[in-house]
Symmetry: D2
Subunit: 358 residues, 4 copies
């Protein structure tokens, strides 16, 4: 169905061309303090209009809470929040009904839901649905942050520009929100911005990588096998449109490593058990180790580009040249940063509730 | 809980030190032909005893079906299959109860389930649980293969040895089962075997990458957002012990690509709609495109190595030198090949049933 | 959680003292025609203001669809509908915070959710939540009615007034909506109305029984054991506030019967297999038999009565005399009729989708 | 699917003509003491062979635990228990394949699963599946009984013989297990036995009512709306073959009552809040009140009777006379007593775990 989670469940509804997009959220413990202002801040981070790196379309996403929060506290009832859509005129998309856009959901959606007659392809697969993820995640992070758990996503690659060094969490936290690309290093941020601008000038788009760190998790969050942190985080991340890869800790690098290098040795530091390295990405056997949980998410270049592309008319079965109209982000990574960050909170709150840790 | 899936659900039970490991499986349509011999073949592929590359321990995993299959057909009742354990003497593990093995689930399991008093750490996190995954997947693949859907996993990297070329599906299919490492190229298979032997001689272990291709899926398998093929496949793959990364199609390479390169152009070929490239890995918007579904899974080097390692006594909070006893696979990748292959069938059958396609 | 169903899932949100009550609904097949006018008609049937038999409070429940219906058709996305609350001033309830009303959820809710500090008791347990049930059911019945399945609930008992005879479905269908109590016989309807008026005049309330018939179901709807029609219908009915009993077909009378009387003999009539009697209530082994599904639901007298009652102050632990303020229905049965009727449609649509029958 | 519950989940598998029947159970907290002997005692209560009142067939149901219990404690892994079938020769049933037995699931199962070719009708709808319910319930009751929660089911009606008086819990507890019908009064038990014998001598069967009381539940067990105690208990009870009605507290009698009589007044007794009456059956708003939870379950007369009955050949569509072979219980109520008692424990453990009360 359209839901994710067991202890804390997020269900998405609406569509980019419906009246609204929103989230139905269950499981928040009765009485938890919840600020709508925090939700709004996170939604604002996801909004376009960040100068050169995102689409200029000006749409402010205003959260409206319909259920579940009263006087700043969770009532125990499901929380329902919506963000109304403007500009739901979808006539611009009519031309696409027979000609699927390369790299988009159009073609399989046409086949699955009935070809040219169905709106679903242009509505339910939209990146706009991630507003619901941010909504749920910005709710979920609040009880966790009160318990000392911190979330930080950052852009570590845009096209050919890579941030290699590991910026300390508390430094990164300050810098990430101050630049349009969400990078933890100012100079690299400028280079990334240039990379995006260049792609845009070429009427093209570019991909990138978001890294996310969750600090302060207690030991033992996660469940064996299907409830592993990796299973649930990856499942959530791959729900975000455009994601092609997810890796934890050493990730794909582990394939060329030896066990003697990869195993993180345990040590006692300030009476706490730590590991000297963190190839595990803070997770062993699917459970948190107390070290920071770290993962990386690869985003493909935006599918909608202004260049002419090859496609086919699915009715005539003839090749056609297609030019995708409309204004699109030349790179989705900057706006994906708050999505990754917030929806990881939804996953971890889910696991903490499942494990009786909240 | 311990279950995966909605339309076709797999629940794992047992433990490496219990009477058995097994799977409880729901959703198989009544009347589907199911061969126990096929299940046994897949379990045999997962068994150790493949010469130099796996542990010499000789344990044959014999499937026993307790429910749901009658006269070679699904009755509609849940299917329950077990594999009995031998050698359930766990005294060898007693020493580990206070000293967590680096790279293992021991430490977070001790904290979560009660330190030295609990067996769960040594039982439910075991790679042996993947026998249940193979069991469920070897059941799931049968109705799919009858409908022309084929599954092929293969080893494409062991340590420094990488198979770069794309061996055609029908060629690979024949070669993969003929060598101990599960590689689609005989020469590379020999090099991979040498890499594993070297790691073993060094009392060490080595990681690798498994690639899996699913051919013949109809267009439109998958559900929007949380039910995307990527979400479910990755969730299943990260349930397998030792997995650190999962990527689809272009995967992490997409981060440095431009949209004009990454978008797979549509063409008509033999009256069917195809794409000329497959950076999408056969998936757009979470739905199958009709092109082969392709993904890669990174496995870390086996955590249990014969070398002395640093750990801590969690009671005394003192550093100790630990030597892990027992015979262990120097590389888990060869035995992971049938696990990846079969459990991907369980995921895709689930999505096909959800989508009313079976 | 707050959801019911597998194939067609209804989740309730909101509360009587929140901004709205509503339903989040999943599983409606893409493309099904759905009329908002029909939803509104069913909500109107549930509204108060039916002369002497219900509370005079004038609140019209206007449905607002936020997601999932576009141009009169299901889009495939979740359907979210709300009914806004007016009069959410809950100061009248403040006095109740320490003194639980007899027959109400107040006392266990105070203990469960935190005594005098929590609103949940007065909000989430309200009969007003059944507006969400009607909303979901009025959506569910539409595709079923198009397939010839008809739903009819009727009042068969109010206090001492009982309608014994079986009014034929198509006759009853016409009469039930023409009187305020929802009875299929006009004369009995008058007597029932009098019974309610008498209770009201006595500053008291009275109970009753609603019978529901579902005609036109195909054979084989339902699943073995936990998915039996009775399990799901009863589970749904007991969710309605005030229900104390549910019985199917012969119901409690079966206890004093012999098998030779109770077994409904099979016959062939117009080439269709029927039974000559229907003690089974249209269900055998949890599955529909093709005969009308029949069940009866007992409602207790409204708990809120104007008379002074004995209660206790849960803080002081002292006995107090309590008078419940506000205007209340002297009998909830008339307004329960459309609730029973519509929510049974939600259950049967769920089972038909589960069984691949829609 | 084949599962019940959220916090404590029971999944049934097997069939009367398969190798075994069994239960897969999830959610038992790690470390809870669990005795297999107690499970065996409850299974023995369900077994036939109680003299005149049940079928003489001698089949002892021996429980075999395959997973989840180690050294008398829950390991945290799913608990899987089976009871092997003997006598799985189903040739006696072959004649029934075209001619449905009146009162049985045969007819709708034939239509649903494929007419004469499928065994499911004779296997998955069998009363024998309740062995799995007893298995799960006998596990669930153990942690609850340790916390002072007691379960007692008893026969209060067989045909025309009714036990009207309310035998005190601790008296009833002793008597119920000492007579073959499970009645709390010895004299009435004899009359009930005679009623069953008479039905048997008449080659007929007879129905009855089981009452169940759960004492010692804390206040606040249950969840609003769909998670009400009544919703879940009734759903479970209606899964038991042969159940036609379920009522709580005053039950159907409430329909003729006034609110001033029905509302149970609160009082303080020994510093605890109680009600002077218990029309609520220990439940308000779906939540436990601290008073005993009481419900009654109506069972129809056994469908299989030795008398000749009217049925139809579903292939020829002709009327035939049918005589059902085999030995059958003339009344299922005595063997249903331990089923009702144990499976109510499975439901309440589920709700207690959901509510964080265990």
């Amino acid at each position: 169905m359209n839901c994710f989670g067991t202890g804390y469940r997020t269900c998405l509804f609406g569509a980019s061309h419906a009246a609204c997009v929103g989230a139905y959220v269950e499981g928040m413990p009765t009485g938890e303090k919840l600020s709508e202002a925090i939700i709004q801040v996170e939604l604002d981070r996801r909004s376009p209009g960040k100068g050169a790196v995102t689409s200029p379309r000006k749409e402010r996403d205003r959260v409206e809470i319909l259920s579940g929060i009263l006087s700043g506290k969770a009532t125990g009832a499901p929380i329902v929040g919506i963000v109304r859509n403007r500009d739901v005129d979808s006539s611009a998309y009519d031309a696409l009904r027979r000609v699927p856009r390369p790299g988009h959901a159009d073609y399989p959606a046409m086949v699955k839901y009935g070809g040219e007659h169905d709106h679903r392809g242009s509505g339910q697969f939209s990146g706009r649905m991630t507003a619901g993820l941010v909504l749920s995640g910005a709710i979920a992070r609040q009880p966790l942050e009160r318990r000392g758990i911190r979330f930080l996503a950052q852009t570590v690659q845009i096209g050919g520009v890579v941030l290699d060094e590991d910026v300390p969490f508390s430094v990164a936290e300050k810098i990430v929100r101050t630049n349009a690309v969400g990078c933890a290093d100012r100079k690299t941020a400028d280079l990334m911005r240039d990379e995006i601008v260049r792609a845009h000038e070429d009427r093209d788009s570019v991909g990138g990588v978001v890294k996310c760190v969750v600090a302060g998790l207690p030991v033992g969050v996660g469940e064996p096998f299907f409830g592993s942190i990796e299973s649930l985080i990856s499942s959530m991340m791959f729900s975000i449109p455009g994601v092609k890869g997810v890796e934890f800790g050493s990730g794909f690098r582990c394939a060329s490593m030896r066990g003697s290098d990869h195993n993180d040795p345990f040590v006692v530091k300030n009476k706490r058990i730590r590991t000297t390295t963190n190839n595990a990405g803070g997770i062993l056997g699917g459970l948190s180790t107390g070290m920071p949980v770290e993962f990386r998410v690869a985003f493909k270049p935006t599918s909608s580009i202004a260049r002419e592309q090859k496609s086919v008319d699915i009715v005539d079965k003839k090749t056609v040249d297609l030019t995708v109209e409309g204004r699109h982000d030349p790179c989705i990574v900057p706006r994906a940063v708050p999505v990754v960050e917030n929806c990881s909170a939804a996953v971890l709150l889910d696991l903490m509730i499942q494990g009786g840790l909240l």
